[in-house]
């Protein structure tokens, strides 16, 4: 399974959420590979606590592979190479967790037909080894998104299931932006159709994930005055209405991740220790990650809308 993580705007928590989902999936026993396709800024290594790949690698990463400069892209085994001790012990029954970082000196590059060929080869190769490949794309319309849309339309990958997760925050701007990224002119559906995808079928493979959501029963709300609470509820109702009108409503949503201070201030993988021992993170956040990690593979969550 290929999962593409995208967002329209930066700062949605796309990377921190998708890395955590990948991590939960590996804990559930799947072999997981995380690909950093954020070519302009390959910094996923930092979230996994891998100091040597904080800003990508100099040893031939994703850029080099897709541009035919290296044959085997550099791999980081999170269970052995992370500098965070909490990640360095692979729990019994857990699957592989491998990061394919970008090049530290790389930048955006156009999705040439040869790059698409390489991308097809990479995905086919990773399929031998991994149950889940999570591909982190840069924010907005990018060459990377164009390239993977072209690659997944190719016959060689026709029987590889893929899904898209569109991350957005629960605000007016973000809802409109996320809908635009998918449905508007030159959006994912348009570009996908141009590469030979069936628009309806592609739409069924796209779901939205809300990030940094403040729930009605969240403890953060207890400090608010009643006028503020009433106002918040009204905003929330408006947002639901707005989301529904833009096709980003409840039915198109795969999951939501509550606002968690740890994710806001230090983008990192949440381990059980953060919740139960040091108690800096909320249990509900990990539950949300687990929920999404399970739902990605749950066919019922992906039935036609």
């Amino acid at each position: 399974m290929l999962v593409f993580a995208i967002s329209d705007k930066g700062g949605t928590g796309r990377s921190v959420t998708s890395t955590n989902i990948a991590f939960r999936r590996a804990l559930q026993g799947d072999d997981v590979c995380y690909l950093d396709f954020d070519f302009g800024s390959p910094t996923v290594g930092a979230i996994f606590g891998v100091r040597s790949a904080e800003r990508g690698t100099e040893r031939g990463g994703m850029h080099s592979y897709l541009q035919e400069k290296t044959e085997d892209p550099y791999r980081v085994d999170i269970w052995t190479d992370s500098d965070r001790s909490a990640l360095r012990s692979r729990p019994p029954g857990a699957g592989q967790l491998i990061l394919l970082p970008g090049d530290s000196s790389g930048g955006e590059f156009p999705a040439s037909p040869r790059a698409v060929d390489r991308c097809v080869r990479l995905f086919s190769r990773l399929r031998e080894e991994f149950d889940l490949c999570m591909v982190d794309l840069s924010a907005g319309r990018s060459y990377a998104a164009d390239m993977v849309l072209a690659a997944t339309a190719r016959a060689e990958l026709s029987d590889v299931p893929f899904r898209w997760l569109v991350f957005h925050r629960w605000t007016r701007q973000h809802i409109i932006a996320a809908a635009g990224l998918v449905f508007e002119r030159r959006g994912l559906l348009d570009v996908g159709a141009a590469h030979g995808h069936d628009k309806t079928a592609l739409a069924e493979r796209i779901r939205f994930v809300r990030t940094a959501v403040v729930e009605a029963n969240a403890p953060e709300r207890s400090a608010l005055r009643s006028t503020q609470l009433a106002w918040l509820d009204e905003c929330d109702r408006d947002l639901h209405e707005l989301a529904r009108r833009h096709g980003v409503g409840r039915t198109a949503m795969l999951g939501k991740v509550p606002l968690d201070p740890v994710l806001q201030w230090r983008e990192q993988i949440l381990v059980d220790e953060d919740v139960y021992a040091s108690q800096i993170a909320n249990e509900s956040t990990i539950r949300a990650f687990d929920h999404i990690a399970t739902k990605i593979f749950d066919a019922r969550a992906w039935e036609g809308l």
Binding site: G93, S124, E128
Partner: protein, 328 residues
Amino acid sequence: MLIMGEVQTGLLRNLGELGEPKCREVLGLVSGEEPRTSMRPLPYAISPEQFTGVDCRLPGVSGARIRGTGTVAQHAVIVGGRVLQASAYATVVAGAADHRLPWSHYLARPGDIEVHGRPRWADMAEGFMAAEMPMDALNLSAIGGRLMAAVQESPHLDGKTPFKSTRTHLRWVLWRGEAGAPPLLLTLGKGSLRTLRLTGEPATDVTAFCEDLALHDWLLTTIQAIIQRALIGTAAPSQIAARLAPAIDHLMHLWMPGARVPDSYQHLWKELERRPGFSRQWASSVTRIRDQIAVNTLSLLSAAVMTESGHEPDGDISPHRGASQDDP
């Protein structure tokens, strides 16, 4: 003179076992040259030799920039219609000149790389064993990887694998070595990298031994991964049995160490069997898997007896370990 090589081993991208005629088609990578196949003691197919021209820096631990020009030989192997290997190797020799000669010179010596200047064999051998080589140094992994991809993308394969597995890389070097060096030293490196230092007179028929060793190391690695993921002792017997099934269906019958190794290298297999004991570990893994399957069969049988008679059977065939002795 020394020979350096790398063998990549992985699962062939095909759901079923590949028959001999298909193997020939898949490995027919060079027009006009036929792959060779044999059926005993195990279906085996090897592609014709291919050569890749190189002119690059050679590895070395000292950091000295040694340049070499010539060709790397590579071929692909399919064992049991199931496991694919790509083997790339080159014989590094002292050069005929300090500068690069016309290509015709190198093409007359396929599989040889000539060193410009004075070769430092020990430095080169160790450099090639290093986990991280300079980016501009000779990269046999890339050459093997490309061959592997060429086979895996063959239209004669269905593109799917029956289970997920990791490729292994066995990097090896054979040379006369320094005085007192053991005939063979195998090291499991980081991730999927293994290194093998062989001491002896360089001869290219050693590739057969290296490929055989790489195959059996991959089998061990893969079966260990399957066992580790089955969560024996924690998960339910039926679940464990399902997770172990790929080992039984696709791997167990492939274990035949030394089957294709020339006599002159058989003593190396004996050494490996003595320590660390490849077959010992394999036998224990296979027994473990069979025992788990037996436990699952017993629990299925006892469940069937219970549903039939509506109560606990008299004879205790129940595999529920640790059950109370006081039960009626």
